[in-house]
C-alpha cells in the first residue's frame, strides 16, 4: 500500500506536463491563429486577475474570521470559467457547484455584493441567506452554486430541456468537478441529456473542471477509468479535452463547443484539465494528499502567468500595463471588502422570508409560460 502511495505521488509530480500534453493531443491544433484579438485578451486577463484577487481577499476574510462556514476558492482554475463564460449569450443559463465565486463575478455580479454575501451581510448577492456555496444572479443567467456534489447536474439538464422546449435559443453551461463524475446523479442526468438531446431537446454544455482532486482524493484514486470525457460515451454524448490552464485554448474550444450545442440542441462535454493552486477549502491547510513539488510544478502553468507571458510576447501589453491592471483589480477587491465589512447584518425579519412565495398563494389558471 505504501509503495503504491509513493508511486502515486511520483507519477503525479509530472501530472501538470502530462495534462497539457493530453489536452493538446485532443484540443486545438498547433499554429492556429488566435480567435480573440489582443485587446479582448487583455480584457479577459483583467477579469482573471480580478477573480484571483477577489479570492485572495476572501481567503484573508476567512482567516480573520470575517467569513464563516466553508470557503472554496477558484485560484488556478480561472482560465476555465473565463474561457467558457466568454461564450455566454443572453438567455443562456449557467449552473455550477460550490466553487462558484468566479462564475458569478464573470457573469457580471457586483464584487461588492458577492463579498458581502461571503461576509453574511444583508447587502449580499442572496441577502446573506446562502453564503459562499449558494451564489445566484438570475438576471445575469446564473442559476446558482450548489453544495451537494453532483446534486446540481440533473437541474442543469432539466433547464436545458426547458430552454429547448420553449424555443428560447439559449443553452445551459453546466460546470461540474472531476469528483462529481463518480456520483449517481451525474450518470442519471447525463443519460437523460443524451436521450433528450437525440430529439434536439437538450442544449447542455457540460464543462468538467478537472482540477485533479475530489477534495483530497485524486482522479486516479477515484476511478479505474481516468479519462473522464469517456464517461460520456455511455450516454451518446460527444466530448473533447482542453488544457484548462491555457486561456486561448479554452476560448477556442468553448466557442466551438457552445456553437455546436446551440445549433444542434444536443449536449456536448469538455474536460478541462486544470489545477487548484490553493487548498480544497480555506480550512484545508495540511494537504496530506499532494506534494509541494506537484503544486510548485503546476504553479509554472498558472493560467494568469501563462497569459501574461503571451501578452508580453505579442506586445499586447507591457509590464507597466499589466501592473496597472493588477493595481486596479486590487483596488476593486479592496472596495468589495470594505463594502462587505461596513454593510449591515441581514435584518432579522429576513429569517422567515423566501421560504414560500406566500403561504396560501394560488395564482389564476393558465398563467402561461415564462420565467
Amino acid at each position: 500500500m505504501a509503495t503504491t502511495e509513493r508511486q502515486g505521488r511520483k507519477s503525479r509530480s509530472t501530472s501538470a506536463r502530462k495534462a497539457a500534453d493530453r489536452a493538446k493531443a485532443n484540443g486545438k491544433e498547433a499554429g492556429q491563429p488566435p480567435r480573440v484579438k489582443n485587446d479582448a485578451l487583455l480584457d479577459l486577463y483583467r477579469k482573471m486577475v480580478e477573480v484571483r484577487l477577489f479570492e485572495d481577499a476572501a481567503q484573508r476574510g476567512f482567516r480573520t474570521g470575517k467569513i464563516g462556514g466553508y470557503l472554496h476558492v477558484y485560484s488556478g482554475q480561472e482560465a476555465v470559467a473565463t474561457g467558457f463564460l466568454h461564450e455566454y449569450r443572453e438567455g443562456d443559463r449557467i449552473i455550477t457547484a460550490y466553487r462558484d465565486h468566479a462564475h458569478a463575478l464573470l457573469l457580471g455580479s457586483e464584487p461588492k455584493a458577492v463579498m458581502a454575501e461571503l461576509y453574511g451581510k444583508g447587502t449580499g448577492l442572496v441577502k446573506g441567506k446562502g453564503g459562499s456555496m449558494h451564489l445566484f444572479d438570475v438576471a445575469n443567467g446564473f442559476m446558482g452554486g450548489y453544495g451537494i456534489v453532483g446534486g446540481h447536474i440533473p437541474l442543469g439538464v432539466g433547464m436545458a430541456y426547458s430552454l429547448a422546449y420553449r424555443k428560447t435559443g439559449g443553452i445551459v453551461q453546466l460546470f461540474l468537478g472531476d469528483g462529481a463524475i463518480h456520483n449517481g446523479a451525474f450518470h442519471e442526468a447525463a443519460n437523460l441529456a443524451g436521450l433528450w438531446g437525440r430529439d434536439g431537446l437538450n442544449p447542455t454544455l457540460f464543462v468538467i473542471e478537472n482540477n485533479q482532486y475530489g477534495m483530497g482524493t485524486s482522479v486516479e484514486r477515484s476511478t479505474a477509468m481516468t479519462d473522464l470525457g469517456s464517461k460520456f460515451d455511455s450516454y451518446g454524448i460527444e466530448h473533447e479535452k482542453v488544457d484548462g490552464m491555457d486561456l486561448e485554448a479554452v476560448l477556442d474550444c468553448a466557442h466551438r463547443a457552445a456553437e455546436r450545442v446551440r445549433e444542434s440542441g444536443k449536449p456536448f462535454a469538455v474536460e478541462a484539465l486544470t489545477y487548484r493552486l490553493v487548498p480544497h477549502g480555506a480550512a484545508d491547510f495540511l494537504e496530506k494528499y499532494r506534494t509541494k513539488e506537484e503544486i510548485r510544478e503546476w504553479r509554472q502553468r498558472d493560467p494568469i502567468g501563462l497569459l501574461e507571458r503571451t501578452l508580453l510576447e505579442r506586445d499586447a501589453a507591457d509590464e507597466d500595463a499589466l501592473k496597472a491592471i493588477r493595481e486596479t483589480a486590487k483596488a476593486r477587491s479592496d472596495e468589495a471588502v470594505q463594502f462587505a465589512d461596513e454593510s449591515p447584518d441581514p435584518d432579522l425579519t429576513e429569517l422567515t422570508t423566501d421560504v414560500y412565495a406566500g403561504e396560501m398563494h394560488v395564482p389564476a389558471a393558465g398563467s402561461g409560460i415564462g420565467e
Partner: protein, 334 residues
C-alpha cells in the same frame, strides 16, 4: 353533479390544466406509452405528445432533479413517482434542492413543481413498497404536503398544486384510485391549509387524512349506533396545516383521537396531538389518543398486514378510552 373515480378526477385536473397551459409537462416512469402503472395518465401521451408526457428511464434522482431545473426556468412539471417508496432515491433532489432553492437563492428562484403518486399500503406489497411519507416530507420547510381523500378534493387540490409557485408533495392513497364521488366539471380549486369537516358531531373529534378518512366515517357510523356522535376531520393538507379547524372541533367535543397509517413516533398524529394540547389544553376532558401503524416494516401476509394498520376496532377501542367508557391502561400500546 357528475360522478367520477378518484383516478379520473386526478387525470382530469392534469389534462384540463395541460390544455390551458402549455408550460405544464408530465415526467415519470411508464406514464406515456404504457399508460401509467396505476393508469392515472392513461391516454395523455396521445393527446399531448411525448414532449409533454415524458417517459423517463428508471432514475428518480435524475428525472426529479431535471424537473426541478425545468420548474426553475419557466415550466410547471408534474413528476409521477410510480410509488412514493421510490422517492427516497430522489430525496436529495426534493429536500436539498426543491425545498430550499427559494431560500438559499435569496428569493430569486421559484420551483413550481408537483410530485405525485400513490402513498401508503394495504395491498400486500410488503416492506420496501409500503410507506406513508406525509410525516417525513411534512418535516421540511419549503415543501407543501397534501393528501386528498375524495375525488372532488383530488381534482381541486391538483389544480391548486399545479398553480402553486412552490414544490408540492401530492400524496395520493393508492387504495382510493377506484373510489367514486361527485366531481364538478371544469375549473375549480381546493386551497391548501384548509381542513374539511367530513361529518359533524359533538362527542369526539376523529382526525385523519387520506384513506383513513373513509375508515373514520365507517367508525363514526358504528359509534352513532351506540349513541356517540363523532366529528370526522379530514386534514387534507399536512403543510400548511389548519390548526384552526382542529382546535374549533376540539373546543366543541373536548376529546380527540388521531388516526394515521404511518408509524407513530415523530408522526403527523404526534404533531396534531401537540397542537391540540398547546392551543386547547383547557378544553380537553381526556388525553388525545393516537392510533397508528405498528412499529414494524410492513409485512406481506394478509393477516399480518391487516394487524399492522389501524382497524375499525382499534379506533373504537381508543374512542372508548378517551370517553372513559373503559379503563385507560392500554392508551400507550399502539
Amino acid at each position: 353533479m357528475p360522478v367520477k373515480t378518484y383516478r379520473d378526477a386526478l387525470k382530469a385536473a392534469m389534462a384540463e390544466e395541460m390544455q390551458r397551459d402549455e408550460s405544464v409537462v408530465l415526467l415519470g416512469e411508464d406514464i406515456g406509452v404504457y399508460g401509467g402503472t396505476h393508469l392515472v395518465t392513461n391516454g395523455l401521451i396521445d393527446e399531448f405528445g411525448p414532449k409533454r408526457v415524458i417517459d423517463t428511464p428508471i432514475a428518480e434522482n435524475g428525472f426529479t432533479g431535471a424537473a426541478i431545473g425545468m420548474a426553475m426556468t419557466g415550466l410547471k412539471p408534474i413528476v409521477e413517482m410510480m410509488t412514493w417508496n421510490f422517492s427516497f432515491l430522489a430525496a436529495d433532489q426534493i429536500i436539498q434542492n426543491a425545498a430550499k432553492l427559494r431560500y438559499f437563492s435569496g428569493g430569486q428562484v421559484s420551483v413550481p413543481l408537483v410530485i405525485r403518486g400513490p402513498n401508503g399500503g394495504g395491498v400486500q406489497l410488503s416492506a420496501q413498497h409500503t410507506h406513508s411519507l406525509e410525516g417525513f416530507y411534512g418535516h421540511f420547510p419549503g415543501l407543501k404536503v397534501v393528501s386528498p381523500a375524495t375525488p372532488h378534493d383530488v381534482k381541486g387540490m391538483m389544480l391548486s398544486a399545479i398553480r402553486d409557485p412552490d414544490p408540492v408533495i401530492f400524496l395520493e392513497a393508492g387504495a382510493l384510485y377506484g373510489t367514486k364521488g361527485e366531481v364538478e366539471d371544469g375549473d375549480y380549486t381546493v386551497p391548501f391549509g384548509k381542513a374539511r369537516v367530513a361529518r359533524e358531531g359533538t362527542d369526539i373529534s376523529l382526525i385523519g387524512y387520506g384513506r383513513q378518512v373513509n375508515l373514520l366515517l365507517r367508525v363514526a357510523d358504528k359509534l352513532a349506533e351506540d349513541g356517540i356522535e363523532g366529528e370526522v376531520i379530514d386534514l387534507r393538507s399536512i403543510r400548511p396545516f389548519d390548526s384552526e379547524t382542529i382546535v374549533a372541533s376540539v373546543r366543541k367535543t373536548n376529546r380527540a383521537v388521531v388516526v394515521q397509517e404511518q408509524w407513530r413516533w415523530f408522526s403527523v398524529a404526534s404533531e396534531v396531538a401537540a397542537i391540540i394540547q398547546e392551543q386547547a389544553f383547557d378544553e380537553l376532558d381526556a388525553p388525545v389518543e393516537r392510533v397508528s401503524g405498528a412499529e414494524v416494516p410492513a409485512p406481506y401476509a394478509r393477516n399480518l398486514e391487516l394487524a399492522a394498520f389501524p382497524s375499525e376496532q382499534q379506533i373504537i377501542d381508543a374512542v372508548q378510552r378517551v370517553l372513559y367508557r373503559v379503563a385507560t391502561t392500554s392508551a400507550t400500546t399502539r
